[in-house]
């Protein structure tokens, strides 16, 4: 019993070590890949532009819910005008980066993991190695960088759409004064709030993309293995995102 526990502990430690090693390999190869701008641009399109619809729709609805709930709550204290502040701080600091990262893991992370996993299962990666093409440089790093670039931009778009969603419900439907909605927000939101959001979304982008390409690259080369890699991408990403969220929030306090 103790032996099994110890074994699973050392296994987890080994996994963590190999993820760190993998990240190191990606970073070392990054400068050379930066010259192949077309490869990165294609991956920014794949993980960023293609996730845009789901991010924008979710942002709109999250913002609208925030407007509705925030209005109901703030009205009890007679301060419905602070709705803009409440919604913006909530979106920019927490909901924007976290929800975007979770959606990103579900939309782009799974695509990356299954694509790489299938390449592994159909021996495409080995074939590249045979032709003296480094698959890390040609396939993995561009996907990783594409995700890292796309994630902060997606989170910012999510937050902006969310703010307009909250404004739509709060101002147009519930009748909060538009002037005080925006002016109180501008007065209360500081630049560090926005910086915190950007820092978070960047960290989540690195984490999600790293987990996705790692899971795909080291997937067991079977149909089942690819499926498992895809599932564990989402599960691991979600846990890591929420853990990092706590760390970064604490660091900014």
């Amino acid at each position: 019993m103790i032996g099994e526990l110890w074994e699973s502990f050392t296994d987890a430690l080994e996994d963590l070590g190999s993820v760190v090693h993998f990240l190191f390999r990606l970073v070392v190869n990054t400068p050379r890949v930066l010259l192949r701008f077309d490869l990165i641009s294609q991956q920014v399109f794949n993980s960023g532009a293609l996730s845009l619809i789901i991010i924008m729709l979710s942002g709109l609805f999250v913002g609208m819910v925030l407007g509705l709930q925030g209005f109901q709550l703030l009205q009890r204290f007679g301060s419905a005008e602070s709705l803009g502040t409440a919604a913006t701080i909530g979106l920019v600091k927490e909901l924007g980066p976290v929800v975007t990262a979770l959606l990103f893991a579900g939309r782009a992370g799974t695509a990356l993991a299954s694509e790489l996993g299938l390449m592994r299962a159909t021996d495409q990666l080995s074939a590249m190695e045979m032709m003296a093409v480094d698959p890390i440089q040609r396939v993995v790093v561009p996907r990783f960088l594409g995700g890292v670039i796309a994630m902060p931009l997606l989170a910012a778009i999510f937050s902006v759409i969310g703010i307009y969603g909250a404004q739509l419900v709060g101002v147009q439907i519930m009748g909060v004064d538009a002037g005080s909605f925006w002016s109180q927000m501008r007065h209360a939101v500081s630049l560090t709030d926005v910086t915190e959001g950007i820092a978070k979304s960047f960290a989540f982008g690195v984490a999600c993309s790293l987990i996705a390409v790692y899971q795909g690259y080291y997937a067991t080369p079977t149909a089942e293995g690819v499926g498992r890699a895809t599932t564990s991408t989402v599960v691991t990403s979600a846990v890591v995102i929420l853990f990092l969220d706590y760390l970064i929030t604490a660091a900014f306090l």
Partner: protein, 173 residues
């Protein structure tokens, strides 16, 4: 060729949209615009006995119009006063040197801000100038303390009036 063109177009518009969103978040939701595009400014200092919880970035207003912001707050250990550096918009360069700076509270429990009241001098505040007439922040705790002190004092007076008035002493007994 055709495919790569639409691909680049998509990537380009996505990146543009993302940066537009970032720009919106940093400039439109916060109180600070980009300093590069900001108006020219000049700095004046004012010394206060007590600034309460005045914060850096608080607005400086004249007749309710925002004319600048609090740029720095420091403590002068020579005359034990708070030194507040105000950064004013150069458009409002006709503020008399004998103007009065007071610290007010926005709303009942809002943040503090500085209100300037124009004086009557013919000379105007310039860069690195100083406002001499200041009025400290209204600190709620001090006021409550004063009210309580007055209250207990008047109560004590009522309970034990001057001994020169024996009738009143009889009454309270």
């Amino acid at each position: 060729m055709r495919k790569s063109r639409t691909l680049n177009l998509g990537t380009g518009s996505f990146v543009l949209l993302g940066f537009a969103a970032l720009f919106f978040l940093t400039t439109q939701t916060t109180s600070r615009g980009l300093p590069i595009f900001g108006p020219p400014l000049y700095e004046v200092t004012a010394k206060f006995d007590n600034i309460g919880d005045l914060k850096v970035g608080a607005p400086v207003s004249m007749s309710g119009v925002e004319v600048g912001r609090v740029a720095k707050i420091d403590f002068d250990s020579n005359d034990y006063k708070a030194v507040v550096l105000l950064r004013l918009n150069a458009r409002y360069n006709k503020i008399p040197t004998d103007s009065d700076a007071s610290i007010y509270t926005q709303g009942l429990l809002g943040g503090k801000f500085i209100g300037l009241t124009a004086g009557g001098s013919d000379t105007y505040l310039a860069d690195k100038g100083q406002i001499d007439f200041t009025q400290s922040a209204f600190v709620l705790e001090n006021l409550i303390g004063q009210v309580l002190a007055n209250f207990t004092k008047s109560k004590a007076d009522a309970l034990s009036p001057a001994p020169a008035d024996p009738k009143a002493t009889e009454k309270t007994k």
